[in-house]
């Protein structure tokens, strides 16, 4: 069945496999109080553990007194992207619809909070118009609703498209939406708007200020609270009949339709809910950054979120949360730290130093380069992600027919060429693949 001949595995793949084996051995072999580490990390136990870590994180940052607020700020940005990853996971991971324009919904959320709290806009003749002002608490659900409605509106005409066409159409929307906000004077065009921070709240325990510019702790806990709610919501809906319908569509659209799944309504609900979570993330993002301008919403954001969920494991809630934490913490914090370390180092700053050429290198610029490398390596080497979706892997394992047919073709090709280094994927790759849309059959038609 497998076409890869003995001894032709690439060294990259070999090293990767041995790394995987070692991690698995550690998770199953090492025991704490009689149970393997994996037991502590799986299911609700793992979730509680992560939540506890997130709760104590601000206290932990106090150990680095001068960096404490920077680290909490990084935590907030990580949290916002966790929301985005959870939302995109509904669309790509569950329903199998590749959305490359997810940033559009982030834009809608961010502008909802900016326009809603600032209460100003410009009319056609460039005069300032006063609008009613709302606060964060009202705009959180409103932002999710606005983005969700746009998700449904944009999704309705496009969802009948084939997977790769849908991807390009969503990409087009993701580009048009920021251009629209940039060019229409109503939202202050390229200048953008400044969101008004929420007022401090008096509680019996003291004043809680979610909008403080100096102490981000309160806002951090707000984001964490929203994440917990959203995660529980996503788990509930995943296990509901709607969630099962999403997965059925992802696995086999025709079979799902034949079994009575309403394709349009099911796809639209995935698109709308995913968009709503993007909007929620956008509202928090707008509050956090306080300034919202169209230039900051790039295709890079859509892809960063996609990388998060591909890295963590499509369709796996712990996976996409982990992916978002890893990528975003790396992007917003570690790269800056790396910059500081490299640039302040005497090996670099001294003009005679051999490593002086590093002085002009900004590691932040390498952010998307690394994103791209991670994306390619994950898709090629471990498409199921760091924490694969167990149920999905099992489902895909059973899908042997298409994979077998394809591997026969692959074997034919390999013989024709007589090329020793063919790494054309054998059946095991095809069956283990947990990527979006399992339309392996599509290639055969």
């Amino acid at each position: 069945m497998a076409i890869r001949k003995a001894g032709t595995v690439s060294p990259l793949r070999k090293g990767w496999d041995s790394l995987g084996r070692q991690i698995n051995e550690m998770l199953d072999g090492r025991k704490i109080a009689g149970r393997p580490i994996r037991w502590y990390l799986s299911g609700w136990r793992g979730g509680t553990l992560v939540l506890l870590l997130a709760i104590v994180y601000p206290f932990f940052t106090a150990l680095f007194s001068d960096l404490s607020q920077t680290l909490i700020g990084a935590g907030i940005q990580v949290g916002i992207y966790v929301l985005l990853a959870l939302g995109l996971n509904i669309v790509v991971g569950y329903a199998g619809l590749l959305d490359l324009g997810y940033v559009a919904f982030f834009v809608f959320g961010s502008y909802t909070i900016a326009v809603g709290t600032a209460g100003i806009a410009k009319d056609a003749s460039n005069h300032v118009v006063t609008l009613p002002q709302f606060n964060l608490w009202i705009l959180l659900p409103v932002g999710a609703l606005v983005a969700g409605v746009f998700g449904v509106l944009l999704g309705a005409p496009t969802l009948r498209l084939r997977g790769d066409y849908l991807a390009i159409v969503t990409l087009g929307f993701g580009e048009i939406v920021p251009i629209f906000f940039n060019n229409v004077p109503f939202f202050y065009g390229a200048l953008g708007l400044t969101a008004v921070p929420p007022d401090p709240i008096q509680t019996p325990f003291g004043t809680v200020d979610f909008g403080s510019f100096t102490d981000h702790t309160a806002f951090y806990y707000l984001v964490l609270f929203v994440i917990v709610l959203v995660t529980l919501f996503v788990i509930l809906i995943r296990d509901s009949s709607l969630g099962r319908a999403w997965i059925a569509i992802r696995e086999d659209e025709t079979a799902a339709a034949a079994s009575g799944v309403n394709l349009v309504r099911t796809k639209l609900s995935a698109f709308g809910l995913g968009a709503a979570l993007g909007g929620l993330g956008g509202v928090l993002n707008g509050t956090n950054l306080s300034h919202v301008d169209p230039g900051s919403f790039t295709f890079g954001i859509s892809i960063t979120v996609l990388v998060m969920i591909v890295l963590g494991g499509l369709g796996s809630i712990p996976g996409v949360i982990l992916g978002a934490i890893l990528i975003q913490f790396f992007n917003v914090y570690l790269l800056n730290q790396l910059n500081d370390v490299v640039h302040n180092n005497f090996l670099v700053s001294n003009s005679d130093a051999p490593l002086h050429f590093l002085a002009n290198l900004d590691f932040n610029q390498a952010k998307f380069l690394i994103t791209g490398i991670v994306l390619v390596l994950m898709v090629v080497l471990r498409p199921q992600g760091i924490i694969p979706n167990v149920r999905r892997q099992r489902e895909l394992k059973g899908e042997g027919v298409a994979a077998e047919a394809l591997s026969v073709v692959g074997a034919l090709e390999a013989e024709e060429i007589g090329e020793a280094t063919v790494t054309g994927p054998g059946a095991e790759d095809a069956t283990e693949y947990a990527g979006p849309g399992s339309d392996a059959r599509g290639r055969e038609e």
Binding site: R162, V379, V409
Partner: protein, 315 residues
Amino acid sequence: MHVLAAAGTGLLIQQIENGIILGAIYALVALGYTLVYGIIELINFAHGDVFMWGTMVTLTLTQMLGIHGTVGGLALVGLLILFLAASMAFCAGLNVVIERYAYRPLRAAPRLAPLIAAIGVSFILENIAQLWRGADSVGYPPVFPAITFHLGSFSIGLLEILIILFSLALMYALNLFIRSTKLGRAMRATAQDPEAAALMGVNINQTISLTFLIGGALAGAAAVIYTLYIQFVWYFTGFEFGLIAFTAAVLGGIGNVTGAVLGGFLIGLIQALTIQYWPGGNGISWSDAAVFAILVLILVFRPSGLLGQQIPNKA
């Protein structure tokens, strides 16, 4: 995009001329998308960035040769041949390497896997270029002499004439190759039915590599033309330009070679005219949105494009 807004009389004709030249470049890049899609049904997202690397190669060669201004006579001919050879070879090689290491391992994987890999490759290519050349665009000297022919209010440059003739020649050569050579027949066979083609003795891997090679070479040629004509080089060109060229391929009917050429010229014209005639006069900032809107509309209402065959929805 960056078409110089022409002023004065003959505005419309001038913009049509701009559109045709832009369209020729779009068409050359669109051919790369359409050939690859036709054969392995992959939107080669990195194709625009391969094109961008062609512009980088042209810029680098120019700088290495110490050219800062206009070149004339035989030196110009030699230079053009050198640029074309270098850029076409580089882009063709790059495209083949990408296929070999990023797409081929995923050939049996679900269809969206190679698309995600292609997006990753696109990011890698873009950002290496950015790290190397910086985030700002780099100016390119006016190497080609400004020789202009006038006909009443209508004027056209020698460069423009050469661009149109050369692009058409390349497209014709491609057409001949696909129609009447053995390798071209293998490409068509593979596009129709890879399994059957393999059984008939077509070397599938080699044919797919060849397709990427040709697509890359056309992008390389387009890159030289683009650099000489637009006169700047920017790491982000690949994304913008690539998406527009992809739109051209879709407009013509993806997988259809004639369609890609037709789509390229149409999109070039639409863009040039949007820039000039958009109500409110803010055409430049809307022209990209207009192209994306066209893309969305075609995909929604006529996914097979103008000349493409009606294919059943594989969902």
